[in-house]
């Protein structure tokens, strides 16, 4: 698999004209495993939306290499899934085949094998016919990881994937993240558990609207940097003046 890299050129992302991510410049190397860490409102989710392309940068440019939707798989924070929809776990997971099957493509025997393998990998064998409305939070997250597996993307974005998930499920799903890393996929995860970041994520981006530190996890998560991130105000100033820093 050809690994995917992301290059940020003085990127500013936000809502209205107010920046949520301010002048981010740098690169996520191909095949890296990066944690995005920072206080609430620091722009972590906004950054992922910018990478997926659902949010257009106010300024600057995000270059994904190689480009294309098929390379990116995105698990949003507390996915906006309509749990009351009459759909089976199997069909939910099968959606991961979209980039291959698309609107009209058939789902053949090999695809069915892959769906079964994905369900097995997340420990949901026997749940195929269950309606998604009957799943617990952890089981739902397992199903969504199975869908990510099927997407077979070279760039995987996870927004707080382990929030409100028990220890055993977290450990199982974290194994999948490690497996993706071993397969040379680029993985970016927004996380709050700093111990987990130190244990499992070699690279970290510490952000508090402005990037605070970026690089080797041990170096980034220093007490000084964490304090600096906490100090950065969350203020939304309705009368803020236009930013004078020029974009690259």
């Amino acid at each position: 698999m050809r690994a995917t890299s992301i290059r940020f050129h003085e990127v500013t992302l936000g809502y209205g004209r107010h920046p949520a991510v301010h002048h981010l410049d740098g690169e996520i190397p191909a095949g890296s495993l990066t944690a995005v860490v920072g206080p609430n409102g620091a722009g972590k989710s906004t950054l992922l939306k910018g990478i997926v392309g659902t949010l257009t940068p106010l300024d600057g440019r995000i270059a994904i290499d190689p480009p294309g939707r098929a390379t990116v798989a995105y698990l949003p924070q507390a996915a906006e899934i309509d749990r009351s929809f009459p759909l089976s776990v199997y069909d939910l997971v099968a959606m991961g085949l979209w980039s291959r099957a698309g609107l009209f493509g058939g789902v053949g025997r090999r695809d069915r094998t892959r769906i079964e393998e994905a369900l097995a990998a997340v420990g949901l064998v026997g749940f195929e016919r269950r309606p998604i409305s009957t799943l617990s939070g952890g089981q739902m997250q397992r199903a969504l990881f199975a869908r990510l597996l099927l997407q077979d993307a070279s760039l995987i974005l996870l927004d707080e994937p382990f929030t409100a998930i028990d220890a055993r499920t977290t450990a199982d799903l974290l194994d999948l993240v490690r497996r993706w890393h071993d397969e040379n996929r680029t993985v970016i995860a927004v996380l709050h558990d700093l111990d987990m970041v130190r244990r499992a994520f070699p690279q970290t981006l510490l952000i508090a609207r402005e990037p605070v530190a970026w690089g080797e996890t041990d170096r980034v998560l220093s007490p000084e940097n964490l304090l600096a991130a906490r100090r950065m105000v969350e203020a939304h100033d309705p009368y803020a003046a236009p930013c004078r820093r020029s974009a690259a």
Binding site: V72, Y74, A79, P131
Partner: protein, 288 residues
């Protein structure tokens, strides 16, 4: 018994035509209604049904009770209101339900006014409640064509339609099909309302979509089965309503919708998936 159920259809051509009409309407209305319900757009369907009225009325004003004029008028009005309500809710603080309500109230008032400008109360009743017992060949062809188009289009757009309901964020991340799919779906809703309107009138056309769909929700937890059930309920309501109207000398359109309503009530009571009786007497809890 067979006499009671079969002879009206074997003896009278107008009953045969009505039968073909309601089956065609049920075939497309069932799945469209299921999607309206699952997309939480049930009231949108209702509002659009009202929105069709002034268009059909203008067609009527120009050409009398003419099929093409009223069809085109209804289509144009339905699309205009759908788009206008969408724009108002996107660009102003008003939510879609409120802007739809505003548009459909206006449409209803405008439509009734336009019809009464020229016609009699009989014509008004015709437009509001349809003439399922007087469907001519061209109307039957129109209704069948609309059903065919609808079923084909739903088959083609099935995946994004489902995905857009279940997980819109995911659909947006893998494909740009979301917005076109929504527009195609709105178009199908308008088409089916216009088809249904010739048989059942603007006010009741939406009944053949929503009542079978709502009833089917009480019988299954699977979307495919829900569409099948909904079509079956639509067909049974159509046949039952026609027989009821024939034997009890009731107006046919309302009799069909009342039958569908009866099936809905029954499903609400005894349906296996969340029917009231099962909620009241669930039986002893299980071991696991």
């Amino acid at each position: 018994m067979a006499d009671l159920l079969l002879s009206p259809f074997s003896d009278f051509a107008f009953m045969q035509r009505a039968l073909v009409g309601v089956i065609a309407i049920a075939l497309a209305g069932g799945p469209v209604g299921v999607f309206l319900m699952l997309r939480r757009m049930s009231l949108t369907g209702d509002a659009m049904a009202h929105a069709i009225l002034p268009g059909a009325a203008i067609g009527y004003l120009i050409a009398g009770l003419s099929l093409p004029a009223m069809t085109i008028g209804g289509l144009v009005a339905g699309v205009v209101v759908a788009v206008a309500a969408g724009l108002v809710s996107r660009f102003t603080a008003l939510k879609e339900d409120a802007s739809l309500a505003a548009f459909y109230l206006l449409s209803l008032a405008l439509g009734v006014t336009i019809v009464s400008l020229r016609g009699s109360n009989v014509d008004l009743l015709h437009v509001l409640f349809g003439t399922v017992l007087a469907l001519d060949d061209s109307t039957l062809l129109l209704i069948s064509a609309i059903s065919t188009i609808t079923v084909l289009a739903l088959a083609l757009f099935y995946r994004p339609l489902v995905l857009e309901c279940v997980d819109p964020t995911f659909l947006r991340s893998v494909s740009r099909a979301g917005t076109p799919t929504h527009l195609v779906f709105l178009g199908l809703v308008v088409l089916n309302l216009v088809g249904g309107f010739h048989a059942l009138g603007t006010l009741l056309a939406v009944g053949m979509m929503m009542l079978p769909a709502a009833a089917s929700r009480f019988w299954t937890n699977d979307i495919t089965m829900m569409m099948v059930t909904s079509v079956a309920i639509g067909i049974v309501s159509g046949i039952g309503g026609l027989l009821l109207s024939f034997h009890a000398e009731l107006p046919a359109g309302p009799a069909i919708i009342l039958t569908a309503g009866g099936i809905y009530g029954l499903s609400l009571l005894v349906g296996r998936e969340g029917g009231l009786l099962w909620l009241a007497w669930p039986g002893r809890h299980l071991e696991a």
